[in-house]
């Protein structure tokens, strides 16, 4: 009797994956929603959390710290941060004023790198609620800043999906890095990572205290007549 090629689970796996990849590869770019610009919105939402190192190091640090602390913090912290960050984004979007205003948010963002880096460096082990509260507070600052500066004219749905996905993936990257905690050399490497994050945070904190640079718009407005006159000369 002929043997069924799908009986063996390994054979089945080979066929399953071959078929899956075949179907995936057979798909081509869809001309979906041609006018509304949703793909652009998803991309800009996805890229927004990746647009500043102050955000990136904080989010990765949350993942690493969670991995250092182990269960349940390994998932409580990375869930807390995006949820509270989204809440902060929500407040920023609807322009709810925070106590301390812009300075509170800027200071919170800058301080997040310092404190989270220090937590990783010293492998701090506070109570879970303290860790979650700390992470949540920083998430609120990051989210508020993101929400406040979200551009109009984007598709809210696609932008939000891209934004949350990128944030979550940054945490996952942190957790993945943090998994080396099980080895003694890995623990040392994580502390070095914490030190690097701390240094980065200090740099951003220093930047936060610097006076505001001259407005680029004002600068360009001041230069505009000169440019225009030279253009007029050439034309």
């Amino acid at each position: 009797m002929k043997k069924n090629p799908l009986r063996n689970s390994r054979n089945f796996a080979v066929w399953f994956w071959a078929l899956t990849v075949l179907l995936l590869l057979s798909a081509s770019p869809a001309d979906a929603h041609i006018i509304h610009g949703e793909p652009v919105s998803f991309r800009s939402g996805f890229l927004h959390p990746l647009s500043g190192w102050d955000h990136i190091i904080a989010m990765v640090a949350v993942g690493i710290w969670g991995a250092q602390l182990g269960a349940p913090a390994i998932w409580v912290l990375p869930v807390t941060f995006p949820m509270i960050m989204s809440f902060g984004g929500f407040l920023g979007l609807i322009r709810v004023p925070l106590p301390g205003g812009e300075h509170f948010v800027e200071f919170g963002i800058a301080l997040s790198g310092v404190l989270l880096g220090a937590m990783v460096l010293f492998e701090a082990r506070p109570k879970l609620w303290v860790a979650a509260f700390t992470v949540g507070l920083f998430g609120l600052c990051h989210g508020y800043a993101h929400g406040y500066e979200l551009p109009d004219g984007e598709s809210g749905l696609y932008y939000s999906c891209g934004f949350v996905l990128a944030t979550g993936l940054l945490h996952l990257a942190g957790i993945t890095i943090g998994l080396i905690h099980r080895w003694s050399l890995g623990r040392v490497a994580l502390r070095v990572c914490g030190a690097a994050i701390l240094m980065g945070g200090l740099y951003f904190l220093y930047q936060a205290f610097q006076p505001e640079p001259e407005e680029p718009a004002a600068k360009s407005a001041a230069l505009a007549p000169a440019r225009m006159s030279s253009y007029e000369t050439f034309s």
């Binding site: 090629p5 770019p29 998932w75 949820m83 929400g147 809210g156 749905l157 939000s160 944030t167």
Partner: protein, 212 residues
Amino acid sequence: MRLSRKYWTAAAAFAAALAWPARADAHLVTTGLGPVYDGIGHWATTPEDIIPVVALAILAGLRGAQTGRRLMFIVPVTWLFGGLVGMLIATPPELSRPVLSGIISATFLAPGLLALSDLPVPSVAVAVLAAIVGVVHGFLDAGGLRSEGATTTVGILQFVGMTLELFVLMTLLAAFVLSLRQPWTRVAARVAGSWIAAAGLLLLGWSLRGVG
């Protein structure tokens, strides 16, 4: 080591796939296979419809087999019901984008938060939530189809396609989540729920700002 024939077959399948051109003109979907398949194509390229269903499937899987079995049927049937009401009885109103975003955000938030919290919500309550999500989305989809100029017959056939697809997606996803035994895999499902809820919260912000 000699590779077996099966691996060569798989490699050949890869090569064939790479050389297989295709083009999808999604939305204003014309699959060329009729309105049922157009409905399937339309639904499969609409994240605002897919994401709440994913959240409900995660919730159903986390709540257990009984809830999963209920939602397998409740979500497609109520979606179809909402669609039929929109196509046959009451014409859905033209909603502005922020209002639409507000409604959609609620259907992200409720199942997403319940999945995240993993609270022991009664199966009946989950079923009621699923029915509300199904009816609302079906009704809104009917409005979308009408605004695209779909006739009643075409619209109903598209809803048949959507319903079939919904049933398959709900069944597969809920069964997958239900089969998760390792604690970390269940946590991963809850994290997915939290991401959906977080996206819903942001979407609500867009909606209240009036630019959703």
